[in-house]
Amino acid sequence: MAKKQLYWKGEEELLRTKEFLAAQKNEFNEALPLDEVFSENNMGLTANRRDFLKFFGFSVAAVSLAACNSTPVRNIVPYLVKPEEITPGVANYYNSTCGACSTACGTTIKTREGRPIKIDGNVNSPISKGGLCATGQASILGLYDTERLDGPTKDGDNIDWKDLDSEIQTSLNSIASAGGKIAIVSGTIHSPSTLAVINEFKTKYTTANHISYDAVSYSGILSANKDSFGKQVIPSYHFDKANVVVSFGADFLGTWISPVEFTKAWSAKRKVEGSEKVLKTIVFESNLSLTGSNADYRFPMKTSNEAIYVVALYNELAQLSGGSQISMAKTGDLAGGAIKQTAKALWTEKGNAIVVSGSNNPAIQSVINGINILLGNYGNTIDLDNHSNQYKGVDADFVQFSNDLKAGAYQAVIFYNTNPVYNSPLSNVIVEGLKKTKLSVSFSGTKDETATLCQYIAPDHHFLESWNDAEPKAGIYQLSQPTISPVFKTRQAQESLMNWAGVAASLENDPFAKKGIYNQKNEASPYYLYIRKVWATNGVSADDAFNKALHDGGIFTNAPIASTIPSFAISLNNLVSELEKSVGRNNEIDLILYQNIAVKDGAISNNPLVQETPDPISKVTWDNYVSLPKALAENKGIQNGDLVNLTLGSVSLKAMPVFIQPGQSNQTVGLALGYGRKGKIGEKGAFDSIGKNAFPFVSYTNNAFNYVLNGVKIEKISGSYELAQTQTHHSIEGRAIVKETTFNEYKKDPKAGNNQVVPHLYTLWETKDYKKEGAPNHHWAMAIDLNACTGCSACVVSCSVENNVPVVGRAEVRRRREMHWIRIDRYFAFEDKKGLVDKTDSQFEGAFITKEKGLEIADKKAEGSQYEHWENVKVVHQPMMCQHCGQAPCETVCPVLATTHSTEGLNQMTYNRCIGTKYCANNCPYKVRRFNWFRYNDNDKFDFHFNNDLGKMVINPDVTVRTRGVMEKCSMCVQSIQAGKVKAKREKRTLNDGEVKTACQRACPANAIVFGDVNDVNSEVRKLFLNERSYRVLEELNTQTAVKYLTKVRDTENSNA
């Protein structure tokens, strides 16, 4: 019974046509648009309304479900008032001065959103010339150190600055009015304004005096120059002007006076291209130093015999010049003719030579002065007029002070930038003396060994928060500027002194006040105003002039070397008794105290980056150790990993680990200063466990601290200790990884040492073309000059800071898991003078033993002898990082394409895709890939700077912090490349050569690393790629690396390869 249909939808329904009836039977009378929906045409966008609603409904449901996952809320606080100069995401750079040591290299500080994240050398500064050492690079972490004090303390309890000021002022006033003596003890200060502030203080408190004290003293040079020339200064050494340098234990490329400046000059003069002469480097030393490892000739010396060596050299030269000799009973050429040869080499380069000594004995330094006078070096390569101010501490003054302090002569002591309780052999004297003072104040930013014994700590700003100036050399005025508002409630030491001296108030009406930079409390920093005043009195008063100086980092006059030849005022024969006294007993062992390349005097040794930087010679991290010569070790039955007790008179160090060091002179042992600090940072909060303090061994002889100590006793004890080394195999196994030649051969044929024929190489893969049609692409590449590289490791730290490379700690380094993206490979070759190894055996050709098996044979044959092949070693340093292979072995084996090749020749990591099979690292012939074995951030097991919010402020926001389980490696600072490209694009130009610099390149004090675009025909890197010396490491594997090395050229007589 069909109902009567009243309404119909269309005519066909009314008429009930055949088609309509047929269609009505079919429930879906239109075909479902499945084909359309699933087709790729029109991107499947032909969905009808119903489908749209279905998709929409599904999407809403799916999104709602996905949103149920609770993502942690993280707030970004925007600037309420945006500072004019800060654009989020854009870095600002400020020129300043490094405060890690008193060398005061000029720096350029990179800040992001108001936090400094990287320190580099300032290219304008004549001290650093753009380079910066490992210590300086690492010192940025000191700013973000959880150990820093948050405000002043009194007897360990917090106190207000105001109360502190009034209490100290009252105390100082009462002491001064009663005639009590006040001492300001500081490290070397060459800041004109700081010195002026101290003078103001001394004017106010007339009983005050200022004592300079350097942890590692150059007092010997100062005294010698005072005696010889009447000038108590360290001269300027111009290594770039010399043709020969002879060093007696002065590690001028590593730690001596101003290593960055010296490395810049040294490497410039070592350039072989188009040179007639290079700086021939001759070193006599006990410990194998960085300088020794780079010397052309290195002679092992027992340093307590140094007086005999220098007198012998003096006498040889005197003979050549026809002058009078020094008549000393103990004399002779202990180096087996080397002194005569050296004298000859020096004499032929009269006036173009430099002779230096690392000794702190004024008598020896006077003989060195005599030698330089004989050679006429003053006025040519050594400049006494434009002298260095970097070290001014006179040990006699400090010793006098310490004894007076102990005697109760001082009522008040103020310590600024010094820590004598830790780093002075008179530590006990000072501790005693401090108890007798009425007032003791330390400006230390942390509770260091001295500060904890002081009544008040008035913590100073970190140098990155400070205003300051510096005059590291006569005529070079540098400025420091704050690059962040103070992180803690600290106050600049100078400001404290000004407050106490009542100087601050008188500045309020100063004409500069209104123009001042404002501090945290929105007040002009008084010390800034004071600097302006000091600079104004020296002719820089206009804002423009001062701001220009601030912008450039200082005022640098390029004074020529003063040609005045100083008159040599002493008779060396009067020094003979002192010289003879310095000579050690023959059968006794010398202890040579030295500074580790990154830790230096230990001032910033609680810095994890410094500790994890391997010693460039031994590759040991996180410890100091007794560096033993092989002969002594064999004699005493000591092996690597053993423990010894070191005893010298009443001082002893128990259970020291040993390292048998190739190149260590027989009858000497080395020990690094700067370890054994008390503190809490580090592995599981025990920084005291990092090495042992060697400062108590320092003796005081001939009015200077002496770091060479004859008569040390070594006693093997039971137990063992594993040093954390980043490299444990030391011979190159005869492989052509490092290529070298001599300068003579180079002059004959620039391809010398680099003329192996590489066979025709085949590849499975298509060769990459970095020049796509149209616009030419970049092809990033790097050239590393092995002849310039000294191995100083500044690049290692610089890279770590730039690329957020985690510190992993001693235990992990022991497991060989350090994360450094760049490392310096160091190989020893043992000189086989005695023919211990059969040269006819094709395995061991040449005068040097480079193979493990050869060394074993030689050691066996040398049993019972002096192991001379261990004393005479040749060293090469080779920086090694990802080679960015054109045909990369890592890329083909990654199952997930996490490491791929960019169109610009970079081998790039995609961390997000990495699943951590580690196959790439196994297949990397250069072993430069680093795996995140653990999570290194926010992990209490790795309690370094990545484990606290403060430390994490140093993280470079442009570089991902890697998570556990992914592989990482050198990216050639792709973030800098990107930034450079963006900048060039915005300015509508092509990228200029040298505009983008990698972190390692920026840090390098030797200019050994050049980065650039080899597709750019004018680029420096392209020129180096075409240089005859250039080669690829493991070229025979056809990896087509984007990194090329340049042969090392030694200025030796004959090829020792």
């Binding site: 011979s731 898991r817 990654c894 199952p895 699943i915 099979t917």
Partner: protein, 450 residues
């Protein structure tokens, strides 16, 4: 169908009747477990627990809990992986290749050999999975699923991706082959079942097997097809595993000899493990009549042959290295024999090349306790082979600056021991709940089946 010569030695001894076969092989399934089973199973489960513990530690803290370092980034993990995969070779070889070659002696051992294969591959799979730094991400990226990002696939150049395919294919085919072969026997157990649970489960897993001529016919055909598929897999799996090494640039890995050398080694180790297991099983379960001295002797011959083959490969590697004139290659091999891991190399040589030569003597091939000892030696030797290839090649390769030593931590050792726990747990369960000998096939080779 059966065309055996009457003068051939019997493959099953003890004058078994068809009924004897059924009752004897179903005995462990139908009775309460023996004390020795209980003790063995408990031990296995304890070690399995160790596996769970050590893997949990690895996942919680990271691969850093292992002894690997910046140079040796594969150590015990991949050594054990290759070791277990190698062991997993004998099963398929016995059931597939010997089936195609009509080697009837395989019939009483193929079931347990196949079970061993599957359990060994399970154990092997743990290592490549857990050696990944980020397993959770790895599961996602390795499988090349087309996705919304466009053409984001795995890297088909990478041998590791080939590995994923090779091993999953091998595992699934072996599993199907094993299960298929068991259906008639499960049906037998079902038919004999007295308890409700047993009836239900064996009924379920017998998939309605009726024993009709048609089902038997299909069964035979599918077996043959699967055997055909499995045969190339026997060769392909270890070939591809060997390519993990052979396609790299590491001196000591980069060798064209690897595929045949690895396959021979795998068969060698697989038979070694089969011998170890069966000598215990035939004793404990009293199956000497089914797994006869003849079986053991045949397997010993295979062991001797393949052992000599790998030995030849070891010597060939040395020759090629010397002949190549490549210093890195030469050093890699000299270092194997005389370097700090010399003991591993000489253990390998002794166990794999020298020891199996005793099987030239009939006594050695026919004395079960002696074969058992030798089978252990073979297993140890093959483990050392993988250790030598992986660790001693990696620890000293191109740049001497990166040369290191490697030793495992307790976590790695725990994982390795734990996989034995997993393996034996599986094997004990198999021996308890499934017929360890293929009854239906064995019945076809009984001489007195009339």
């Amino acid at each position: 169908m059966i065309h055996d010569s009457v003068i051939r030695p019997k493959l099953v001894t003890g004058e078994k009747t068809l009924h004897d076969v059924t009752t004897e092989i179903c005995r462990p399934i139908e009775n309460k477990p023996s004390t020795s089973w209980k003790v063995g199973f408990t031990l296995a489960v304890i070690f399995f627990g160790l596996l769970a513990l050590t893997l949990t530690i690895t996942m919680l803290y990271g691969i850093g809990t292992w002894g690997l370092n910046k140079t040796v980034q594969w150590g015990w993990d991949i050594t054990n992986f290759v070791f277990w995969v190698g062991i997993g070779h004998a099963g398929t070889l016995i059931s597939a290749i010997l089936l195609l070659f009509r080697q009837k002696w395989r019939m009483s051992i193929n079931r347990s050999a196949e079970a061993m294969t599957i359990f060994a591959v399970l154990c092997a799979a743990i290592f490549p999975l857990f050696h990944m730094g980020r397993l959770w991400v790895g599961m996602y990226w390795v499988l090349p699923l087309p996705n919304a990002f466009g053409s984001l696939w795995g890297n088909f150049h990478s041998p590791l991706l080939w590995d994923v395919f090779a091993i999953t294919t091998y595992f699934s085919v072996s599993l199907v082959f094993w299960y298929l072969g068991m259906i008639p026997d499960i049906a037998t157990v079902r038919d004999r079942a007295t308890t409700a649970g047993r009836k239900f489960w064996y009924n379920f897993f017998s998939m309605g097997w009726t024993g009709s001529v048609r089902t038997w016919n299909r069964y035979e055909v599918v077996s043959l097809i699967l055997a055909g598929i499995s045969t190339p897999l026997v060769l392909s799996v270890h070939t591809i595993v060997s390519m993990d090494f052979a396609t790299s640039v590491v001196p000591g890995w980069h060798t064209t000899i690897f595929p045949p050398y690895f396959v021979a080694g795998a068969i060698f180790s697989g038979f070694g493990m089969v011998l170890t297991l069966l000598i215990i099983a035939r004793k404990v379960m009293n199956y000497q009549d089914y797994i006869t001295i003849g079986h053991l002797e045949a397997m010993c011959k295979v062991v001797m042959l393949t052992g000599t083959m790998v030995g030849l490969a070891y010597i060939t590697e040395f020759f090629v290295a010397a002949y190549s004139g490549v210093v890195y290659e030469q050093y890699a091999f000299i270092n194997r024999a005389t370097g700090p891991y010399w003991w591993a190399y000489w253990s390998m040589m002794t166990c794999n090349l020298v020891a199996p030569q005793v099987f030239w003597f009939k006594w050695a091939r026919t004395t079960p306790w002696f074969i058992f000892m030798l089978s252990i030696v073979v297993n140890v030797g093959m483990w050392f082979e993988r250790f030598v290839i992986i660790v001693t090649s990696l620890h000293r390769e191109y740049l001497p600056s990166g040369w290191v030593m490697y030793s495992p931590t307790w976590v790695e050792i725990g994982i390795f021991l734990g996989t034995f726990g997993l393996f034996f747990t599986c094997f004990f369960l198999f021996a308890k709940f499934l017929p360890v000998i293929n009854m239906s096939e064995v019945k076809s080779i009984l001489k007195n089946r009339e």
